[in-house]
């Protein structure tokens, strides 16, 4: 008996069950960890800029620090991910619009630069004007860092990732906002954290809505039930279910109690951070499974009219 998440067995031909694609060589925790930290950094820097513009120094300071630490940590994971880490600067050897990783490397380089400059200025008190300018720039690089990773995964032959090219950028944007809002709720006193709570709520709701659509394969093209199956089963299914529980709990805590009790704010914020991380690891593992089992490649391609017509005989 199949669990409801699973599609009924499909008829298709393969070569001794071997994968058609190469299973991604991107590693865990590096790649999903980077997706999480990059998102956290991007949304945090955007919130820092908004906090500064509206005169909220505590949120601004926390946002600057979170953005810088997460950017540096994320970049470190990316370098460790390489087969030849000592050649990481080759990423900036060319600018290739056809490569989301090339575009992303330049965005990340700019974002890492401005967020560390802004944080350094906050910590040392040196060059406050330059610090403010850096924060303003990071309000542009931040949303880009948080969302380009959706294109990074979608521009691959991995069926579950490519078919989700409409889902991944908004999913990652929502997930990033939930994480950055959650981080601020953990670190900033309740009285000063109102906007962070609203941001976290918006982010968590977006994350929940897009995940629900992703798991159903809405807008996935051919064989949506099958191509979206890796999001519902196995390790990815477990992680995404955990992400949903954490987001719901975190959002409820944010809406009901985090404005009154610091302990509730810390708990809700931590739940949102953990939920965001689970989302990224879930999406990553869905791609691993989608690359490993040939049915996810063969069956939807077989269903295309082009292929149907070209059958000889």
């Amino acid at each position: 008996m199949n669990a409801p998440e699973q599609v009924d067995p499909v008829q298709f031909t393969d070569y001794y069950g071997r994968p058609v694609l190469k299973v991604t060589r991107w590693k865990s925790p590096h790649m999903p960890g980077y997706l999480f930290l990059g998102g956290l950094s991007g949304a945090a820097s955007t919130m820092a800029a908004a906090a500064e513009a509206t005169g909220r120094p505590r949120l601004a300071r926390q946002g600057r620090l979170t953005a810088a630490v997460a950017a540096v940590g994320g970049a470190g994971l990316l370098v460790a991910e390489l087969g030849r880490p000592e050649r990481f600067l080759n990423m900036l050897r060319v600018f290739k619009p056809s490569s989301p990783m090339s575009v992303g490397s330049w965005i990340l380089a700019a974002h890492g630069g401005v967020t560390t400059a802004a944080a350094a200025s906050t910590v040392t008190g040196v060059a406050p004007r330059a610090g403010r300018a850096a924060v303003a720039v990071s309000a542009v690089t931040g949303p880009l860092v948080a969302t380009y990773t959706g294109v990074l995964l979608a521009d691959t032959a991995v069926p579950a990732w490519h078919a989700a090219h409409r889902h991944l950028p908004p999913l990652f944007a929502g997930s990033a906002l939930a994480a950055a809002g959650g981080a601020a709720m953990v670190m900033v006193p309740v009285a000063a954290a109102g906007p962070a709570r609203r941001a976290a709520l918006l982010g968590a709701l977006a994350e929940l809505a897009v995940t629900a659509s992703l798991e159903r394969g809405q807008g996935f093209g051919e064989e949506p039930r099958l191509v979206s199956e890796p999001y519902r089963i196995g390790r990815a299914g477990t992680l995404l279910r955990a992400a949903r529980l954490l987001a719901v709990a975190g959002a409820a805590g944010t809406a009901l109690a985090a404005g009154r009790h610091r302990a509730a704010a810390v708990a809700a914020g931590a739940a949102l951070l953990a939920g965001s991380a689970c989302t990224r690891f879930g999406v990553y593992h869905a791609g691993v499974l989608a690359g490993r089992d040939p049915k996810y490649t063969v069956v939807p391609q077989r269903a295309r009219p082009r292929v149907q017509e070209s059958r000889p005989g």
Partner: protein, 278 residues
């Protein structure tokens, strides 16, 4: 005029585009191509243990103890044993290779510029540039290119770039005793393949079909195409491969929308009394 990848990549006056036509109907499964490729290119063994390449593996599934294309296997002979409708057994062999796609996803996504288009329109990795980011591995719709464990860089068939520059044909085609692997100008190969297909069809081999020869397919036509005797997936090939970079403009639009949404969400959250509750 047909689309010429080399010309579009900036070679003002490239030589004729060359490639492979692999006619699997006359493949005898001798694996001379696999051996010649390994020999010429100095490729290490790739057994099941990344830490000890000298350990070899028997797959136990057929005469195919190679398994798949990979970082150190640039020709792979597939052996298919398949029950046919008449109750007999179809024994199919096919030598697979990098397709040197007209629109190559691996090349598109490579962030370092390590992958490049040669003057012959083939697709080659510059090993002194590749930093092993592995994006190409996930981008290739055929599962061809891979990162070599221990070495850290991505490797695949070069269409024997060094031999081509010296006026020689690739090692696999040279070694193939039945001319199942044919090397030459792509236009000529396509004509030859059409003739061969017509011949097979008139002989009653109706299951014969070409794979990868159509410039209208998802990769703009392969530089290495095939005559198959069964559906592509029977040999482990995708039925309708697509270079996903063709959807890149749409993907970036969704990302731009999401980025604006994120900025908008932050703006909404921070609206309200200025500086309240600092």
């Amino acid at each position: 005029m047909t689309y010429d990848p080399a010309r579009s990549s900036g070679y003002p006056d490239p030589p004729q585009r060359v490639g492979f036509f692999t006619d699997t109907s006359i493949c005898i499964g001798c694996k001379a191509c696999e051996v010649a490729c390994k020999e010429w290119n100095g490729l290490p063994a790739d057994g099941p243990l990344p830490e000890d390449a000298s350990v070899l593996e028997l797959t136990g599934m057929s005469y195919d103890n190679t398994g798949a294309l990979g970082a150190s296997t640039w020709r792979h002979v597939a052996f298919v044993e398949k029950q046919n409708d008449a109750g007999g057994l179809n024994w199919l062999m096919a030598s697979d290779v990098c397709k040197h796609c007209t629109h190559a996803a691996c090349l598109d996504v490579c962030p370092t510029g390590a992958l490049f288009r040669t003057e012959f329109s083939s697709v080659v990795v510059q090993q002194d540039v590749c930093n092993g980011c592995a994006y190409c591995v996930s981008a290739c719709p055929y599962g061809v290119i891979d990162r070599r464990e221990g070495d850290g860089r991505a490797w695949k068939c070069t269409l024997c770039y060094d031999r081509l520059r010296g006026g020689l044909e690739p090692a696999c085609a040279k070694a193939c005793p039945t001319d199942s692997i044919q090397f030459g100008p792509l236009d000529e190969l396509r004509e030859r393949a059409d003739q061969r297909l017509a011949r097979l069809h008139s002989d009653g081999v109706t299951e014969a079909r070409l794979y990868g020869e159509d410039p209208a397919d998802g990769v703009g036509g392969a530089g290495a195409f095939f005559l198959l005797l069964d559906e592509p997936e029977t040999y482990g090939l995708p039925p309708d491969p697509v270079a996903t970079t063709r959807d890149l403009p749409a993907m970036w639009r969704w990302a731009a929308g999401a980025a604006l949404g994120l900025a908008g969400g932050v703006a909404v959250a921070f609206l309200g009394a200025r500086g309240r509750g600092r």
